[in-house]
């Protein structure tokens, strides 16, 4: 049977077909749908862990007990999971363990563009890289097989284009599952004290040599010899871009990017006249090819940054711009993603903006508040960083920083990596205020559950951690709960907390507007009474998508009506089809110009 699947759905399907029944992960674009798809298969265990390090440790535990386990994360998630990763490479596993790293060239939804192939080399773990959904489904099976055979964790690397594009996949009947789980005692192998780890270290090198040999005969490292004038070594999505524009050149398509098949590369190089290495991001393959003494063109013509496309590949190899018609020359207003109408984060950042504090931000939907007009976030490094950074900043500034440093973090992000730095704030007696933007879900990545939502990935009821109690237990004495849609109270509470000595936490709680479970009846949309609007623009400071500025005739000099004495240049208007009636703008309007649509 054929089905149109995304790369992510295909990975989940492949894992299921080959008998994997265990997966752990933490959401992160572009990897999230792998877990969501896997969780829907019958008889599987799939969980959202609070962060990627925990997810990997859960996967390692399952694999030590003999399971075929899959661990799923986005590229930066591997940074979080790196500590166990480097050492599970030493121990190996008893069952099978595949770690999926979904990289994001072009930073479509990420804070950096790291090339995680480097982790494969760094941690001495083999890595496979599919180029479309069919391969994604096949390669995850191969990854499990390699993991079992070589007693090693295996990486499967995807990129945003592979994960999020859809193509036709042939489905197969899932293999019957054998339960191979058992307690497995082998302290020498699994207790990584120096004396044992030294021995395993040697095993790792032996394994790499065996994998290098295996790579030579691995059928997914394949040569396509056509026109011998030009040969291209490539892998993943760039292979498709090249095939699209140069059907007749010769290819060495690598399904395994670590370790590389050195003999095959030499053979391919000897059969073509001019050799290119086509890879997005780092010259990972190119440098290794050159180290073999083989001349190859790579980053001399292909960019280091951003994902490629067929045009980039064509231009780089032919060296010429094609005669293309260009029409889109006129500058258009940009259209960045924005907080939704009615988003609970908007109120918080409006209030913070009034307080003129430095806002040490974090990652989530609320990061979008850095943009005009809210401009409510002044730094963002990685998940969880807001808390530690606010503390460091407040300590460095001393008295100067009192009442001026706020850290802002989402609920999912807080549970991911905000707890330890908050403990530190209590321990080292910080003066900063932390705001937890609790919208009761992981919104940015598409509304996933987390340990405070009360539900698991597979939809079962679970304990939901009580955030105020958790925060108190960490040693924070001043904990306040506010509704961010109540601008006045939110503002007053923040002011009080900033004035107090010592650390405090304000939890701003209101459900995300996209959240299904707690959806209440939508509020009535609002409108602006053109007679009452004075054109003061205060409502526009919210940056709410349905509110726009309309220049009126008054701007041309003929003031008609409106507030006397003030020259109106225009008025605010609300697009009733997009307004969800949250009422923030009504709270701000001093002239009573904003009312419900009749």
């Amino acid at each position: 049977m054929k089905e149109l699947l995304s790369g992510n759905e295909a990975i989940a399907r492949g894992a299921y077909e080959c008998g994997a029944r265990f997966a752990a992960g933490y959401p992160g674009t572009p990897s999230t749908e792998i877990m969501e798809a896997f969780a829907t298969y019958a008889g599987v265990y799939a969980e959202w862990a609070p962060n990627e390090k925990v997810a990997l440790e859960v996967g390692i535990g399952a694999a030590l007990a003999g399971a075929k386990a899959m661990v799923v994360m986005k590229h930066v998630g591997v940074n979080v999971a790196a500590d166990p990763l480097f050492t599970v490479s030493y121990t190996g596993i008893s069952g099978a363990l595949v770690v999926i790293s979904a990289d994001d060239p072009s930073l479509h939804s990420s804070q950096n563009e790291q090339d995680n192939r480097n982790y494969a080399k760094f941690a001495k773990i083999p890595m496979l890289e599919p180029s479309d959904s069919q391969e994604a489904k096949e390669f995850i099976k191969l990854a499990f097989a390699i993991s079992k055979r070589f007693d090693t964790p295996v990486f499967l690397r995807s990129t945003t284009r592979v994960s999020h594009s859809k193509s036709v996949v042939t489905l197969e009947t899932p293999q019957p599952v054998e339960d191979r789980t058992a307690l497995c005692f082998d302290a020498e192998k699994y207790v990584m004290v120096p004396s044992n780890a030294r021995k395993r270290r040697v095993e790792v090198e032996k394994r790499m040599r065996r994998l290098e040999e295996f790579a030579e005969g691995f059928p997914e490292n394949r040569m396509e010899i056509n026109d011998p004038e030009i040969g291209i070594i490539t892998s993943g999505m760039p292979y498709n871009y090249a095939k699209d524009v140069f059907r007749n050149y010769s290819y060495l398509k690598l399904g395994m990017v670590h370790p590389l098949p050195v003999g095959l590369i030499r053979k391919f190089a000897s059969r073509v006249k001019k050799l290119y290495v086509l890879e997005e991001l780092d010259p990972f393959i190119e440098e290794q090819v050159r180290a073999l003494g083989i001349e190859a063109t790579g980053k001399a013509v292909f960019p280091y940054t951003n994902e490629f496309n067929p045009d980039i590949v064509h231009r780089a190899i032919t060296g010429c711009r094609e005669d293309l018609r260009t029409l889109s020359a006129r500058p258009l207003p940009p259209r960045p993603p924005n907080l939704c109408p009615g988003c609970p984060h908007r109120g918080i950042f409006y209030v913070l903006g009034r307080l003129k504090a430095f806002v040490s931000g974090d990652i989530g939907c609320y990061t979008l508040a850095y943009m005009k007009p809210l401009e409510g976030i002044h730094s963002c490094i990685c998940m969880g960083a807001s808390v530690g950074m606010a503390h460091g900043m407040s300590k460095a500034l001393g008295k100067k920083g009192k009442g001026k440093v706020v850290g802002v973090i989402g609920d999912s992000t807080f549970l991911h990596s905000g707890i330890t730095p908050l403990l530190n704030m209590a321990y080292n007696r910080s003066d900063a205020v932390i705001v937890i933007c609790d919208n009761l879900t992981t919104a940015m990545t598409g509304l996933q559950e987390h340990p405070a939502t009360g539900f698991t990935l597979q939809g079962e009821k679970a304990m939901g951690v009580d955030l105020p109690e958790l925060v108190r237990a960490l040693g924070i004495e001043s904990v306040r709960l506010v509704d961010p849609h109540d601008l006045k109270t939110t503002g007053a509470v923040l002011k009080e907390e900033l004035a107090k000595p010592g650390p405090s936490v304000v939890i701003a709680r209101r459900a995300c507007v996209l959240f299904k479970r707690e959806k209440s009846a939508p509020e009535k949309p609002l409108r602006v009474d053109p007679e009452k609007c004075t054109g003061c623009r205060v409502c526009l400071r919210l940056g709410c998508p349905p509110i726009s500025w309309k220049t009126t005739v008054a701007a041309a000099g003929e003031d008609r009506g409106g507030k006397k004495g003030k020259k109106r240049q225009g008025i605010a208007v609300i697009d009733r089809n997009r307004c969800n009636g949250c009422g923030l703008c009504r709270q701000l309007c001093k002239f009573g110009a904003i009312t419900e649509v009749k």
């Binding site: 859809k166 193509s167 207003p333 259209r335 598409g446």
Partner: protein, 190 residues
């Protein structure tokens, strides 16, 4: 048959991804190879969204080259102007008349281009203008803008109607199906 390309563009939340899913299912049912690509994650947050669809006997790249797309379906008037370089000079353009203001326009810092349709008409021979919100409302579901535009697209492709209807049936729950079938046909008739 060479690879053909369709580009669907618009704003997050307009149902672009669902429309392109239905399109791809129809193409696949017709026995062709098909790939599609879009970048989502922040799609619901009101940013630009595009979905590339490419089909033929054997498709490699899921994204199109410049001057290579046969049909552009633009779900938002101004957005049309962002993607013109992708369209073949003899390509078809379908434009929804809906205007969604980006933040800079809302704030009065930038102007919304008033002449989008006229300027596209000057550059391309086949331009179809669709008042999708009105047709969707007429079909009984104001959210069915995407299905109206899919209908408008369907009349530019040679897939049999039965295949389209089957793909719609698969995509919508019984509750939503009727309005969406209606929306599709209203779009197809434009």
């Amino acid at each position: 048959m060479d690879t053909r390309g369709i580009l669907i563009a618009g704003v997050g939340g307009q149902g672009i991804i669902l429309a392109s899913d239905i399109l791809c299912r129809a193409i696949m049912t017709a026995g062709l190879d098909v790939k599609k690509s879009e970048v989502h994650g922040m799609a619901q947050r009101g940013g630009c969204v595009t979905s590339h669809v490419r089909y033929g006997k054997k498709v490699y790249s899921p994204i199109a080259r410049k001057n290579d797309v046969d049909v552009l379906v633009s779900f938002e008037k101004m957005e049309t102007l962002r993607y013109l370089d992708f369209i073949k000079p003899e390509g078809t353009i379908i434009i929804n008349t809906e205007e969604l203001y980006p933040p800079a326009v809302n704030l009065g810092d930038a102007a919304y281009p008033e002449d989008a349709i006229e300027s596209v008409r000057q550059m391309f021979g086949t331009v179809k203008v669709v008042d999708a919100p009105t047709l969707a409302a007429q079909a009984g579901n104001f959210r069915a803008v995407n299905t109206v535009l899919l209908g408008a697209l369907s009349s530019c492709l040679s897939l049999p109607l039965a295949i389209w209807e089957a793909a719609l049936r698969k995509a919508f729950s019984p509750k939503l199906l009727e309005a969406n079938l209606k929306a599709f046909h209203l779009g197809r008739a434009v």
